[in-house]
């Protein structure tokens, strides 16, 4: 049996890259949302949560239009930065970030909102900047939330299909991730390869979720101590 492990590797590469950027993007966004009480908060929250309810094909369709070299954003990116986001790995990363955004932002935001305001204020009165307070006081006290955000974003990116298909297509070594490869193998009646990909993904997803629950339980006990 000759199985190409490229799609699996690509899937993990995509999930790691996406999660990494989401963490960098998600923390400031979540802390901004946790800090405001403005009416615009609900609009922003609804916007970020859209991928939870929207069919991935809808997001994919709009992104395809936006990133297409004939669209204004796509042509701008290509002219100025020489980047093409349709049918490329970079495009998948950008799309995945948007698609998994609520999975990173929501847990972190909820974690920050659950902390008493006095922690932040105490740190300010001790002369610490907002950034110091964030990294030395707030984030260390929401470890379970951070962990959930990271793992859920990672797992959700692995599970992508519709969005990848719309915007990435099926280019080996570039956009052919495991979920696409499974579809591809089934279409060509190559069930054996589909089985291998599927069982690996199944086992992996279960392990990840199991780890989340075990580690979260530990982290919660640790903070209660």
């Amino acid at each position: 049996m000759n199985i190409d492990y490229g799609p699996l590797l690509l899937t993990f590469q995509l999930a790691f890259t996406t999660t990494f950027f989401l963490l960098i993007l998600g923390i400031p966004l979540a802390s901004f949302l946790a800090g405001i009480t403005h009416k615009s908060k609900s609009i922003l929250e609804a916007f970020i949560s859209l991928p939870l309810v929207l069919p991935p094909s809808v997001l994919g369709f709009y992104l395809l239009l936006a990133f297409s070299p004939t669209g204004w954003l796509g042509s701008f990116l290509e002219r100025v930065f020489d980047i093409r986001l349709v049918f490329s790995f970079e495009g998948l990363v950008v799309a995945s970030i948007l698609y998994s955004l609520p999975f990173m932002v929501q847990p972190i935001q909820a974690g920050l909102e659950a902390l008493p305001a006095s922690l932040k204020e105490a740190s300010y009165t001790l002369g610490k900047s907002k950034l110091q307070t964030m990294f030395q006081v707030l984030l260390p006290n929401i470890k379970p939330a951070l962990f959930s955000g990271i793992v859920l974003s990672f797992a959700h990116t692995i599970g992508e299909f519709g969005l990848v298909l719309m915007i990435g297509g099926n280019i080996p070594e570039e956009t052919k991730v495991a979920s696409i490869a499974i579809y591809d193998e089934v279409e060509t009646l190559n069930y054996e390869a589909a089985h291998v990909y599927s069982s690996i993904l199944l086992l992996l997803s279960f392990t990840i979720l199991l780890l989340v629950y075990i580690i979260n339980k530990r982290l919660l006990n640790y903070t209660k101590e």
């Binding site: 204020e121 740190s123 300010y124 009165t125 001790l126 002369g127 610490k128 030395q136 006081v137 101590e225």
Partner: protein, 290 residues
């Protein structure tokens, strides 16, 4: 010398209310702020700390201007030299007792001073414990020590002892007294507890309806309505036991039941649940040390 003049509109459940406070405090003094809940006491402390902004105001501490709305000067909390002790202590759960103090101390922690503070609040043995493993009184001690690490110009205490039991309150009251004597930090204490105010403060501000209604030495301020040569208790009648000569009335006041006597005529005017006042002249009661 600390000069304060602030105005801030508070939105309360009963509508908008203006908090308008103007006062000055001697450097090294200990001032208590007394008033009903919702009078704006905590808001006043938060305005001083820069955690909330007044519509208009001026704050000057030992010659340094912290706030001047006319000149658009407004130092953030980080730049104001304050120690703030919160009602919920606000210790950082991810750090040990020692780390909490070191965090406050900045880049080059003054280890000697931290050690001295921990010893003064008798917490040196628990320096490596996490705050969640400590009792309320211990947490409060650490919160106090942490607020003093930076040697602030003003120490702000927001009902620091309200979450503790009577015995612990008494102990900590003495510790606050000692710390104040030692460091002479200008201190503002929000408190409901008259005993606390009498013991600690040399000045008291009473805030009513958003402004200072009275200020002065504690015994002067409270003497008019609080001090009298009578002992007065209010309570509720819980039992009336008729006797041959007199009636025995049992009255619940606070957590204790007082048994007293009444004539038949007096007792007939009372029923279970009647609100009554029990009083006695000052030469009558016997005082026993607890």
């Amino acid at each position: 010398m600390i000069r304060i003049q602030v105005r801030k509109t508070l939105s309360m459940s009963e509508g908008e209310k203006a908090l308008q406070i103007e006062t000055s405090l001697e450097t090294g003094s200990f001032t208590a702020i007394y008033g009903r809940s919702g009078a704006g006491k905590t808001t006043f402390l938060r305005l001083l700390a820069g955690l909330i902004q007044p519509e208009q105001g001026y704050i000057e501490v030992d010659g340094q201007v912290w706030l001047d709305t006319q000149k658009k000067i407004n130092l953030p909390p980080q730049k104001r030299s304050i120690g703030f002790v919160f009602q919920d202590f606000a210790l950082f759960p991810n750090m040990t007792v020692l780390e909490n103090l070191q965090y406050a101390s900045g880049n080059k922690p003054d280890q000697e001073f931290i050690k001295q503070l921990l010893t003064m609040v008798s917490m040196e043995k628990l320096a490596h414990r996490k705050p969640t493993t400590l009792s309320g009184g211990q947490k409060q001690r650490i919160a106090l020590a942490r607020a003093l690490v930076r040697r602030p110009s003003i120490l702000l205490l927001d009902e620091p002892l309200s979450a503790l039991d009577q015995e612990m309150r008494h102990k900590l009251r003495e510790e606050i007294h000692l710390l104040h004597r030692q460091f002479q930090t200008t201190t503002l204490l929000v408190s409901h507890d008259l005993a606390e105010i009498y013991r600690l403060a040399n000045k008291v501000l009473i805030i009513e309806e958003g402004s200072i209604s009275k200020s002065g030495k504690p015994d002067e301020v409270f003497s008019e309505k609080r001090l009298s040569s009578k002992i007065q208790l209010t309570g509720e009648v819980v039992r009336i036991v008729p006797g041959e000569v007199v009636y025995i009335i049992e009255i619940l006041t606070g957590n204790s039941i007082i048994k007293t006597i009444a004539t038949k005529e007096e007792a007939e005017q009372l029923a279970i649940g009647s609100q009554v006042m029990v009083f006695s002249k000052a030469f009558n009661p016997i005082i026993k040390k607890l």
